[in-house]
């Protein structure tokens, strides 16, 4: 059983399009996160959600919006995609909102053409 899953694994799209990445965790964790990993492998936290509440929101463009229909899901919606959005996006989860050890999904490689 996959603990944290993401779809799609690869996403290739044109500039200006809107896309979503889905994430699900079956660990019963309370908090989920989205990270962006750039071409230099630098990891930056974008959002975290605890019990459907946004508890951290890094200075990411408002084109990015996390949506959590329930505790087990945290989707990432991106509007008006730009070239600079190309990266690998990782979803993660942890037991509670105090961060702690995180379990990462397999990642979604987004390429904007």
């Amino acid at each position: 059983d996959t603990a944290v899953s993401q779809t799609p694994k690869y996403l290739v799209t044109q500039m200006g399009n809107d896309k979503s990445i889905k994430c699900e965790q079956n660990l019963g964790h309370d908090t989920m996160y989205w990270y962006k990993q750039d071409s230099k492998k630098f990891l930056k936290i974008m959002f975290s959600y605890n019990n459907k509440e946004l508890i951290i929101n890094e200075t990411v463009p408002n084109r990015f919006s996390p949506k959590s229909p329930d505790k087990a899901h945290l989707n990432l919606h991106i509007n008006s995609l730009e070239l600079g959005d190309s990266a690998v996006y990782f979803c993660a989860s942890s037991q509670d909102y105090s961060f702690g050890e995180q379990f990462f999904g397999p990642g979604t490689r987004l390429t904007v053409l």
Binding site: K41, L43, I45, F90, S98, F99, E101, Q102, F104, G105
Partner: protein, 111 residues
Amino acid sequence: ELKVEQNPLFLSMQEGKNYTIYCNYSTTSDRLYWYRQDPGKSLESLFVLLSNGAVKQEGRLMASLDTKARLSTLHITAAVHDLSATYFCAVDSVNNNDMRFGAGTRLTVKP
């Protein structure tokens, strides 16, 4: 702002040798994490260090935490090729609702 610095960023070593990766951070925190990432893969949790003086070992890897010095080390003993990966440390600041990863240390172990 919470800052996390790792060094070295790149490390090439021979099998059988020992080496240490360092992780410095800028704010008071008692919680530090080490992750491993293989090329093209996700991150895997290696160690969770929750208190000053904490030491954990798994196989050829040993991690320690000195909260007074704001320093964690990841020591590699008798490296083998399978340890080749990128290693990240991460620190969270519960009071500030923040978490930061270091830039990662790309380790290559040569036969």
